[in-house]
Amino acid sequence: MTKSNYLERLKQLLDEYNMIESHKEDIIKDYDTLWQEYQELNMMDMDIVEKLGHPEVIIDSLTEGFTKKEILNKRKKQSSQQKFIALTPFIALFMFFGLGFLVENGFMYAWVSFLLIPMSAIILQGPSNIIQKLTALSPFIAIILYIPILGFYFDLWHPGWLVFLLTAILGGLSHPKLFYRIFISGGLLLTSIIYLILEVWMNLGSLMITESIQLPYSTFVFLPVILILLWIWFSQIIKNGIPYLILLLLSTFIFLFLSIQYDLWLIAWLVFFSVPIYAIVRHTKKEEKLIALMPLISTILFMLIGYFFNGWAFGWLVYLFIPMVAIIKGK
């Protein structure tokens, strides 16, 4: 390393800190002088670097009391993100009343604006990995797609419920091995498509299980994928995966039963929340559990209040629990 290389590298490293220019210049000038003094003692460049310390090694002691620009920018960004998240309940409230009063039957859809609260928190401060971020967002994306769009607008409660498999499909994509990614996500996606074709276009009719329970024949197309998933989980001996599989299967059957038997398409999908709720309870840190659960709990409460007490107009207030809990439980 020559003197100019040394000083250039030192300057580069100093530039990463929020240090005023004159300070940096001073340090560079000092090292320049020290280098010259050692040179006058007939020392080789390599030995001088040894004496002065490699820039990467000395930078910490030279920048004591200074913060890296990168960290400062990150803090600044986080602070503006937190401000935005704190504002979302108010933005959602404006959107709710705006849509409710200005659009015909607007209150049927307007409550969706409250999903902005958990969604903005996930987008801005959730996992940095895009697949994990999308998986965390997927229950909310599914709600938006299912209730206002597929359900109320197109009256496609069935087979629109398939959007709730989005979480499992995206979750499968997070698997570290390509083979399993293809089997889990590809298998579920392909099965959903086959199911759609069989159920919607070929209209196979129903299977009478008992006098009160009828399932569409096409539902059984899920059996192979369920068996494959079972095989994947068992073959990996991942005991942790089995509860998810059981929950997903149970949720699907409970959902289909409640929806087909009692025409509860609008509300029965809530059973799919059992999967993310289980994941949060099991894997989230104790102090963050309630914060992570609140978006799901609020949505369940909102739907129950709306459906059973016709409280769509005021039920949205439960979404205010999300920022309240975050403030109380947050650091």
Binding site: D30, T33, L34, L52
Partner: protein, 107 residues
């Protein structure tokens, strides 16, 4: 020895060296390395920190052979700091000597 304690002692030694003889960076670094086996690259950041605290002032001295040198001289504030440091060090050493000599009754 904790890093913090070591750092404090090195600072005191640098103050003493410069108080006795105003010197250039390299001379101080070399003396410290020779006498205390302190890694050379830890001395300059200390020199810089103490200069920022105005315990030293610097001036450039022209040399007949070679480039001009930056020479560090102790300030009155530096002298005060050195005096306090030496006092604390002597007290500390006395206490340590007592303890190591098995004399726990002092004070």
């Amino acid at each position: 020895m904790t890093t913090q304690l070591k750092k404090g002692i090195i600072e005191l030694c640098v103050l003493k060296l410069i108080s006795d003889t105003p010197s250039s960076g390299v001379v101080i670094i070399e003396k410290m390395n020779r006498m205390l086996k302190v890694s050379e690259n830890t001395v300059y950041p200390i020199l810089r920190r103490l200069s920022e605290k105005e315990l030293f002032q610097t001036h450039t001295e022209k040399s007949d052979v070679g480039a001009p040198k930056k020479v560090y001289t102790i300030t009155s504030e530096g002298k005060k700091q050195l005096e306090n440091g030496l006092h604390e060090w002597k007290e500390f050493m006395t206490d340590v000597t007592h303890i190591l000599g098995g004399n726990y009754d002092k004070k």
